[in-house]
């Protein structure tokens, strides 16, 4: 009420939260959704395309530039994904890190925070790049062109959920970076 009286808009709890708690919360969300995705996923006999949750972190955390802690988390998530998908160890690590690096590169080139068009197109390009890297790696390692349809479905789900919940993976500024340096 005090802030309304003074004319300033009230800040939400999330906007006041620092990057480290945001990073931990995002990691928890990814782990929870990823673990839930290991269970059989059918609804009325139809199989549900489950999102690649770690990519939310790769795209969202990369928006504030490169940082060591998100990288370590993405490596851990990638190794868990490799084991759960029965992929050679390192495949999903590469996918996560490439998308993370791509996200950070786009953030360094364009204003992803304030340009609406860039803010929309950049995540789409990053998810497509993740899909392409994963499809190429899977096809190369499996010795045949793997089915793209379930992969596209999973990536569409990933993108749609990210569009709704992207704020959860927005760090505001790089972890460890003092207030005032971020754009």
């Amino acid at each position: 009420m005090a802030s309304r009286k003074s004319g300033r808009p009230s800040k939400s709890l999330w906007s006041q939260t620092g990057p480290t708690p945001r990073l931990l919360f995002g990691a928890f969300a990814i782990a929870a959704i990823g673990l839930l995705g290991l269970t059989p996923k059918t609804l009325f006999g139809l199989s549900i395309a489950w999102p690649y949750a770690a990519l939310w972190g790769a795209v969202g955390w990369g928006r504030v530039g490169l940082s060591l802690r998100p990288m370590v988390l993405l490596i851990i998530f990638g190794l868990i994904q490799d084991i759960s998908f029965n992929a050679p160890l390192g495949c999903f690590v590469i996918v996560n890190l490439v998308v993370y690096g791509f996200s950070a590169w786009i953030a360094s080139m364009f204003d992803v925070m304030h340009e609406p068009l860039v803010a929309v197109i950049a995540p789409i390009l990053q998810f497509i790049s993740g899909f392409l890297v994963l499809w190429l790696m899977a096809s190369a390692l499996e010795d045949h062109a793997v089915r793209a349809t379930p992969l596209v479905a999973a990536f569409l789900t990933t993108g749609v959920i990210y569009a709704i919940a992207h704020k959860v993976f927005d760090l505001g500024r790089a972890p460890g970076q003092p207030v005032g340096q971020a754009t």
């Binding site: 996923k41 059918t42 690590v93 890190l97």
Partner: protein, 295 residues
């Protein structure tokens, strides 16, 4: 004053982080490439099986059960579950008249299929990603699952165990592109090799040129190669676009459980030199041998 980038980082610090990112990516790529060698891939197998045990549900009492004082109840439930599993085996054996069949086979001196003994497990995880299509079931070596065990559900053949942990098994589905199953038509008797297609139906290869399946007939395992027993239901034959395809039976009845039965064991024939020479028996000895058989 040092120039800051758009993300608010100094260029030197940023290039160091970029270098770290590249090192991580190349490290992961090296790891992937290294695993193309089977010797190195096998090094990671214990890690995979240990993780699979954790994902598949280990036999230990959970921490929450210990904290909330429900450990005794959990233990009791597990004991009862194992007892039910044990009893269900006897029930199945009684119902299926396996013993009578075995007696008939003995009378006819017929080499029939070995009696089925299996372990039923819950599917705890499934991966339908771009890599091998697999299931993770919560029974492993400790529950009596054998390496290469055959997994079945209510609809028929599900796959084969390709990775066996202490409390978990990873099953390669028959819908996977890399699975190769020798099959035959139930009525036509035509033999072929089945593998998973891209559209969820099975594809058939190595068909005879002059004969084909009958539309709608059941496709069964033919037991060629010895990996699968003969006569397990795989699906139904369908003629689509000039090709014979298989609609998988297991896809219609995925109740979340699989039964894992041991793979057929075919003894390696002994060499002539290893077989002891038979002595020509006398009259009384012959009589005693026959008595032994009767007994």
């Amino acid at each position: 004053m040092a120039r800051l980038s758009r993300s608010g980082q100094k260029p030197g610090k940023r290039s160091a982080k970029r270098l770290i990112l590249f090192v991580f990516i190349f490290g992961a790529a090296a790891l992937v490439v290294a695993q193309s060698a089977p010797q190195i891939r096998h090094v990671f197998d214990p890690v995979r099986t240990a993780a699979g045990d954790q994902l598949g549900g280990s036999d230990s009492i959970s921490l929450w059960a210990r904290i909330s004082g429900q450990a005794a109840r959990e233990r009791r439930i597990r004991d009862l579950e194992s007892e039910v599993r044990e009893l269900s085996r006897y029930k199945a054996a009684a119902i299926s008249m396996a013993e009578r069949l075995e007696a008939y086979e003995n009378i006819l001196n017929l080499m029939g299929e070995p009696p089925v003994r299996g372990v039923t497990a819950r599917v705890t995880a499934e991966s339908d990603g771009p890599f091998a299509q697999t299931l993770l079931a919560n029974a492993g070596r400790a529950q009596g699952v054998d390496p290469g065990a055959i997994a079945l559900n209510e609809g028929g053949l599900v796959g084969r165990v390709i990775q066996l942990g202490e409390y978990s098994s990873r099953i390669l589905l028959i819908t996977d592109f890399n699975s190769r199953i020798p099959v035959m038509g139930e009525v036509s008797g035509v033999r072929a090799i089945l593998f998973g297609g891209r559209d969820g139906l099975g594809s058939l290869t190595d068909l005879p040129e002059r004969s084909g399946f009958i539309e709608g007939e059941r496709i069964l395992t033919s037991a060629e190669g010895g990996a699968f027993p003969r006569g397990l239901v795989v699906g139904e034959a369908r003629r689509l676009g000039g090709d014979w395809r298989v609609r998988f039976g297991m896809a219609n009845r995925s109740g979340g459980y699989v039964q894992m039965v041991p793979p057929p064991l075919i003894e390696t024939p002994a060499l002539d030199a290893d077989i002891p020479a038979l002595d020509v028996p006398d009259g009384p000895a012959q009589a005693s041998a026959a008595q032994g058989v009767r007994q």
